[in-house]
C-alpha cells in the first residue's frame, strides 16, 4: 500500500523520508514539485499525482507537505486519512506539527512511523496504543533521559494492541478523576449582499478530556437528541445504543479525543448571531474606493459575541487602505492583499465600525467584484442549536468523578458576500 513517505517543507526541501518497502529514490518528488509549480498556491496542488511508475498522494498540513508514494491501486481516501492521522499524532506528541518539532524529535518520529505502518498497511494508529509503545517527550523526561540514559520506548509491552478496546490503555490511574466535555458548535453560513441567508447550517463536535482511573463505562444523554441529524462517532461508542435509545454509551480512551461530530438537521432555522452592514465601492477614474463596514449583534440569546475577527481578501488592484476603526485594530498586508480587523467583543451600545479610503493602483481597471467578508466570532456558554447534555453516568468503577460540560459557539465558514 503506502510505499514511502516524504516530508517536504514550503521551500521544497525534503527533510524526512521513510520507506516501508524497498527504497524509492527522492527523485520521485520532482513530479510533485512540478505539480506544485503549476498550481498557483499550495492549496491547489492536486492531492493525487500520477507519475510513470508511482502515484503520489499528498496532504498539506501546517506548512508541511506529506507526500506518500503508492505503487498499486489503493483507495486515495485511505492514504489521505492515514496521512492526516500521522499529522495528528505528531501534533499530539510534540504539541505542534512543524518542521522544527519533527527535526528535533526525528528519532521519535521514526519510531512512530515504524509502529504506525507495517509493510505499508496501518498497524497501530490509536494514540493510546502509541503512547504505550513510545512515550511522548516532555521536558522533564528529556532531562532525566540525558542523565540516566533511559529511553522513550516503553519497556512494558503494549497490551492495548491485543485488547478488544484498542483505544484505551490498561492500568490508568488518576488521583483526581475528571471528565470534561466541550460542546463546540460552528455556524457555516453564506450571507448574500442584501443580508439574507443563502445557506446556513450548524456543525458541532463534542471534544472530551477524560481522566478516569480503571475501566469506566460512561453514558451520556442529551435533553434533545433529535436535534442531531447526522452523527459520526469515535469507535468507542456503541452504535446500537445510540440507534435505539439515543444515548452515547462508551468506554472512553484516556485523555483528549473527539467523541462525536454532528450536524444539526437542516430543517431547523439557524439563528445568525451577527449582522454586517457594508458599503464597499470602487471608483473608476480616481483610482480610489470607499470602505465602510459595521458589525452588530443579532439573536445572541443574551450572550456577548466576542473574539470577532474579520478577514477580507481585497482585489489585486488595491494598493493600500487608510481606515479608522472605532474599536479594535486592523492590519492590511499589501502583498497578500489581506485585510484583518480584530474587533474583539461586540457591545450593542456602540457598534464597531471600520471606515475609510481604499487606494487603487492607478490605471488598473476597477475591480469587478467586491470582496467577500469572512467573519469569525465566539459565544461562550451557548450551543446555538440548543443542544443540551442531560446527564453523564458512570458504571464499572466505584469512585465519583468530577464532571463538567462546556458549551461554545463559533463561526465556522462564515462568509458575507458583498
Amino acid at each position: 500500500m503506502i510505499h514511502s513517505l516524504f516530508l517536504i517543507n514550503c521551500s521544497g526541501d525534503i527533510f524526512l523520508e521513510k520507506h516501508w518497502k524497498s527504497v524509492v529514490s527522492q527523485s520521485v518528488c520532482d513530479y510533485f514539485f512540478e505539480a506544485q509549480e503549476k498550481a498557483i498556491d499550495v492549496e491547489n496542488v492536486p492531492p493525487v499525482i500520477s507519475t510513470p511508475h508511482h502515484y503520489l498522494i499528498s496532504i498539506y498540513r501546517d506548512k508541511i507537505f506529506f507526500v506518500s508514494v503508492i505503487q498499486t491501486e489503493v483507495p486515495p481516501l485511505f492514504v489521505i486519512e492515514f496521512l492526516h492521522r500521522v499529522a495528528d499524532t505528531f501534533q499530539d506528541y510534540f504539541g505542534e506539527c512543524s518542521e522544527t518539532a519533527i527535526k528535533d524529535n526525528v528519532v521519535i518520529v521514526y519510531e512512530l512511523l515504524e509502529e504506525m505502518l507495517d509493510n505499508g498497511f496501518p498497524l497501530a494508529t490509536e494514540s493510546n496504543i502509541l503512547k504505550e509503545l513510545i512515550k511522548p517527550p516532555t521536558i522533564l523526561r528529556s532531562v532525566v533521559n540525558s542523565i540516566t540514559g533511559s529511553s522513550n520506548v516503553g519497556d512494558t509491552l503494549p497490551t492495548g494492541q491485543l485488547s478488544n478496546i484498542p483505544w484505551r490503555r490498561a492500568g490508568v490511574k488518576y488521583t483526581n478523576n475528571e471528565a470534561y466535555f466541550d460542546v463546540i458548535e460552528e455556524i457555516d453560513a453564506i450571507i448574500d449582499k442584501s443580508g439574507s441567508t443563502v445557506f446556513a447550517e450548524i456543525q458541532g463536535v463534542i471534544d472530551s478530556c477524560i481522566k478516569l482511573s480503571g475501566m469506566p463505562d460512561l453514558s451520556l444523554s442529551f435533553m434533545n437528541p433529535r436535534l442531531l441529524d447526522d452523527v459520526s462517532f469515535h469507535p468507542c461508542i456503541r452504535f446500537k445504543r445510540w440507534e435505539s435509545e439515543r444515548v452515547l454509551s462508551f468506554i472512553p480512551p484516556d485523555g483528549n479525543f473527539r467523541l462525536i461530530s454532528y450536524r444539526v438537521s437542516s430543517q431547523n432555522l439557524v439563528a445568525i448571531p451577527v449582522y454586517v452592514k457594508h458599503m464597499i465601492s470602487f471608483k473608476e477614474n480616481t483610482s480610489s474606493g470607499r470602505f465602510d463596514v459595521t458589525i452588530g449583534p443579532k439573536q445572541n440569546m443574551g450572550k456577548t459575541v466576542e473574539g470577532v475577527v474579520m478577514t477580507v481578501h481585497m482585489p489585486k488592484a488595491v494598493l493600500n487602505m487608510n481606515l479608522t476603526a472605532t474599536q479594535g485594530s486592523y492590519t492590511f498586508d499589501p502583498v497578500t492583499k489581506v485585510l484583518t480587523w480584530d474587533v474583539g467583543k461586540i457591545t450593542p451600545q456602540k457598534l464597531p465600525n471600520l471606515k475609510g479610503m481604499v487606494n487603487l493602483q492607478s490605471g488598473a481597471p476597477k475591480p469587478e467584484e467586491n470582496p467577500s467578508l469572512n467573519i469569525q466570532f465566539k459565544i461562550q456558554q451557548l450551543a446555538i442549536s440548543g443542544l443540551k447534555v442531560n446527564r453523564l453516568d458512570m458504571y464499572g468503577e466505584k469512585y465519583k468523578p468530577f464532571k463538567g460540560v462546556k458549551y461554545i459557539t463559533k463561526a465556522g465558514k462564515f462568509q458575507v458576500r458583498t
Binding site: N44, Y55, I59, E73, K103, N119, R238
Partner: protein, 1014 residues
Amino acid sequence: MAASPAYGEEKGGSSSLGEPEYGHDPASGGIFSSDYKRHDDLKEMLDSNKDSLKLEAMKRIVAMIARGKNASDLFPAVVKNVACKNIEVKKLVYVYLVRYAEEQQDLALLSISTFQRGLKDPNQLIRASALRVLSSIRVPIIVPIMMLAIKEAASDMSPYVRKTAAHAIPKLYSLDSDQKDQLIEVIEKLLADKTTLVAGSVVMAFEEVCPERIDLIHKNYRKLCNLLIDVEEWGQVVIINMLTRYARTQFLSPNQNESLLEENTEKAFYGSEEEDGKDAKAEAAMLAKCKPYVMDPDHRLLLRNTKPLLQSRNAAVVMAVAQLYFHLAPKAEVGVIAKALVRLLRSHSEVQYVVLQNVATMSIKRRGMFEPYLKSFYIRSTDPTQIKILKLEVLTNLANETNISTILREFQTYIRSMDKDFVAATIQAIGRCATNIGKVRDTCLNGLVQLLSNRDELVVAESVVVIKKLLQMQPAQHSEIIKHMAKLTDNIQVPMARASILWLIGEYCEHVPKIAPDVLRKMAKSFTNEEDIVKLQVINLAAKLYLTNSKQSKLLTQYVLNLAKYDQNYDIRDRARFIRQLIVPTEKSGALNKYAKKLFLAQKPAPILESSFKDRDHFQLGSLSHLLNAKAVGYQELPDWPDEAPDPSVRNVEVSLSNAHISQVPEWTKCTSREKRKEKVEKPFYSDSEGESGPTESADSEPESGSEENGSSSSSGSSSSGTEEDEEEEEDSGEQSEDKEEEEVEKRPKRKDKEGSHKAVLGSAGRYALGSSPCCLLVQLLSPAFSAVKTYELLHRMAGEGLAVEYCFSRRPFPGDPHMVAVQIQISNNTDTEVKNLRVNEPKPLSGMRIQEFPEIEHLAPGDTASVVMGIDFCDSTQAANFQLCTHTRQFYVSIQPPVGELMAPVFMSENEFKKEQGKLMGMSEITEKLMLSEKCQSDHTIVQQLTSAANVGRVPCGASNEYRFAAKTVTSGSLVLITLERREGSTAQLTINSEKMVIGTMLVKDIIQALAQ
C-alpha cells in the same frame, strides 16, 4: 546534525544515496577523511559496553537515515547489536536493519538467528515483533525460513501473532512470487480465523496475493460480514472493498427488473388468496418464466452490516460503505449515503477533493440522492480552485427544472469572482445547464451575451465559446447575437474565441448577409498575424461565403487562399489547397464540386455538453483508478452482475453438533430499548452463529412485511387516488422490515473474539446493566389455546407435600420478550394450610438459557388453584430448564423440558412464499422421512389437528389436496421450520421438514411421526 545546505544540492533530483556523506562543513576539505572520522566515532560508540552510548549512536544513525543519507557502511557495527538488551537500541537496530538489509544481504544473515530465537519466545509480543522484522528483511535467501515462520505463526495461539503472520504474507509474496500456492494455503487458513484482529490483515493479504481466488471467501463471507463492525478501521476499508467485488460476482442485480417484480408479487398474492386453480396455473407459468427478484439474504446481510459504518469518523470507511451501497444496493436504498458523504465535505480539503470527485460521478447516475443537499455544494470564495471547480461540476449535475433558478442565481455570484479559472468554469457550467434544461436556455443565453461586454477578456472568450455551442441549437432566432459577436472580432484577442466567432458567422452567414463579407475583409487583412486555429476558421469562413455570396467575396476568398498557400503551417496549406479544389470550379475538378455547398453548409448536429464524469462509474468508486480515470496498477475490475445467481449454498457453513454448544458471553454493545436491555444482558448466543444462524430471510420474503406490502398495494389498487401515496406506503413497509432486521442483527452476537482477560473486562462492562432487578410481568390468566393442549407435571402432589404443580405450553407469545416460550403453570394447594410466598428461586439455567420468573404468589389458600405464566428462553434446544420452586417453608427442585414442537411459533405465509423459502432450505437442511398414518389419522381434519398439537405450527394454504404444509419459526433465533406432509396411496405418507436448525428438524420429525402414527 542538520546539514541543511546539502538539501539544495540534492533537490536537483538525483538520489542522494550514492552521494558521499558531507561533514558539518564541506568547505573544510578532506571530505573523505571527515566522513571516515565521524563514522569511526559512531562505530566506537556502538562497540562500547554502555547502552547509553549505543543509544546515542543509533539515534544519530537513524537521524541520518531519516534525512535520506547513506549509512550503509556502518552495517557490521550496527548488526552486532541486534541482540542488545536495551529495548530502544534494539528497536533502532531493527529500523536500520530493515532499511539496509536489502543492500547488504550477506551481513544481514548474521542477524537471522536472533529472530529465529525470538519466534520461539513465550511472550506473544516478542514473537510478533521477531516475525515482523524477519519478514521485513528483503533477502531472498531466507525465503524458506520466512515461509516456515509464517506457517508456524499462522497457527499461533495469539491472535496478535496471527495478525503479524497475515502482514508477513504480502511481504514474502513480493519477495518471491513463486511461493504463491503455499501462501494461499496460509491465507485460506487465516481467513477462517474468527478474531477481528486478524480479519482486516488477512483480507489485505488476500487482495495482494490472490484477489482472483474469490472461492476462498465463500465460507467466510457471513463471518466477515458479522465481524466487520468490530474490525479496526483500516481493515474495514479493505474488507468492504473486497466484499463489494465479491457481491458483484455472487448476487443478482437488485435493480434488474424492479417494475416486473412489483407487478408479479401483486398478482401472485391475489392468485393464492382466491385459490383460483386456473388462474394460479397461468400465474405459476408466468412466474416461472420471469421469476421475481428476491434479494439473497447474504446480500441483505452485507448491506445491513455495513450501514452503521457510515457513521465512522474515518472518511475512508465512509467512502468505502458509500461505494458499496452505490454498486450493490437497490435504488431505493442508495440515498442513505448522501448524508454521510456531505458530512465529509467539512473535512480537510484533500478529503473534500476526493469525495467531490466521487459525488460528481454518483450525481450523474442518481441525481435525486444529492438534491436535498444542494446548498452544501455552494461555493465560498475561500475554497481552493480545484474544490470550486468540482463543486461546480456537482451543482451542474444536480440542476433540474425546479432548482435551476436558484442555481443560476448562485452562478451569477460566481461569475464576478476574482478567480478567473473558476469564472471560466462557471460559464461552461451555465452552458451545460442551458443545453440540458430547455426552459432556461434563453435566460442563459442572454446572461452570457451580457458577459460579452465584460472587461476581462478570458471571461468574454469563454462566453463566446459557450454561446457558439448554444446558438447551434437554434440559430435562426439569434441573428442579433451573431451580429453582436461579429463586432467583437475587433477587440477580442483570445484565439479560441476568435475562431468560434468566425465559425459562427460562416455557418450562419445567411442570417447576417451584410456583416459576414465585412468580417472576412477584416480578417483577410490581419490573416498573417493570426493564430493557427483562427487561420483555419478564416479559410472556412471564406469558403462558405464564396459558396453563398460569391459576388462579394470571390476576390477576398482568392486572396485568403493565396495567403494560406504559403503559410508556414502545413495544416493550413493543406486546407487551403483542398478547399480551393473543392469550391473553385475548374476543368479538372470532378463531381465533388457540385456538392461543395452541401458539404460545407450541411446541417450540423448541435454539440452535446457532457460532464467529464460521465461513465466514470465503470471504475469502482472511491478507488485510485476512478480518481485518475485510468486503470491503476493492480486495480481489480468491478465485475458485472451475473445473469444467473451462482449457488448460494456455497456460503453455508457446516455446523458440527459440538459447536452448537451454548456459551455465555454478556452482550454489551447493543440493546434496543430500556426494557429489552435489562432482559437481554444475559442474552446467549451460539458460538457458531456467525455461519449457521445467518439471516434466514430477506426483506421481501419476510412473511409479515410481505403481507403488509401486499396489503398496501391491494388497497392502493382499489383506491384509484394516485401513485404517490402508494409509493409512500410501500416505502414505509420497507422501513419496517428493515427495522426488524436490525433487531435481528442485535440479537446476533457481535464480539466473538473474547479471550481470557478481555472477557473479564467486558464482563464488568456488561454487568452494570444487570444491576436493575429483573422486571416481573403481571400477566393475566391465559386459557389454553387448543383443547388438545397437553399438561405436564412439574411437581407431583406427593413429592410436593400437598403442593401440586402442572405446566403446559400456552402457545401464546410471551409478553415482554418474543424470544421466550410462555409456560403456563398451574399450582394447586392440596394441603390444609395456607402456602405463602410461592416463588421461583435460583434459576440455574444452562448457559444461555434465560428464565423470566412469574411474580411471587403471596398466599395460596388451601384447596385453591393459582395459574401463572413464566417465560423461558430455551435457546432453541430441548435442554431442560432447572430451577427451584420455593414456598415459605420448603423448596423443590424442578425442571421443565420442552417438547421440540413448543420451541417454535407459527408463521403465516402464502404458498408462494413457502415455496420460495423451501427452495432456500434444500440439501443439508432438508429431512425427509416416510411414515404410516394411523387409522385415526385418515381425515384431513385429524391430521392437521394431530400435527398442530405435536408442534406449534401454522398451516400454509396448499393447492394440492393430498398435501399439507405448515410453517413456524423457532422462538429464539427465528429460523424458519417448514413442514410438508404428502399423503400417498394407502396410509403411507412422506414427511419433509426444511429448517437450517438440523437438530430441531430431526427431533421434530420424530415427534410428528409419533403423533401421526399413534
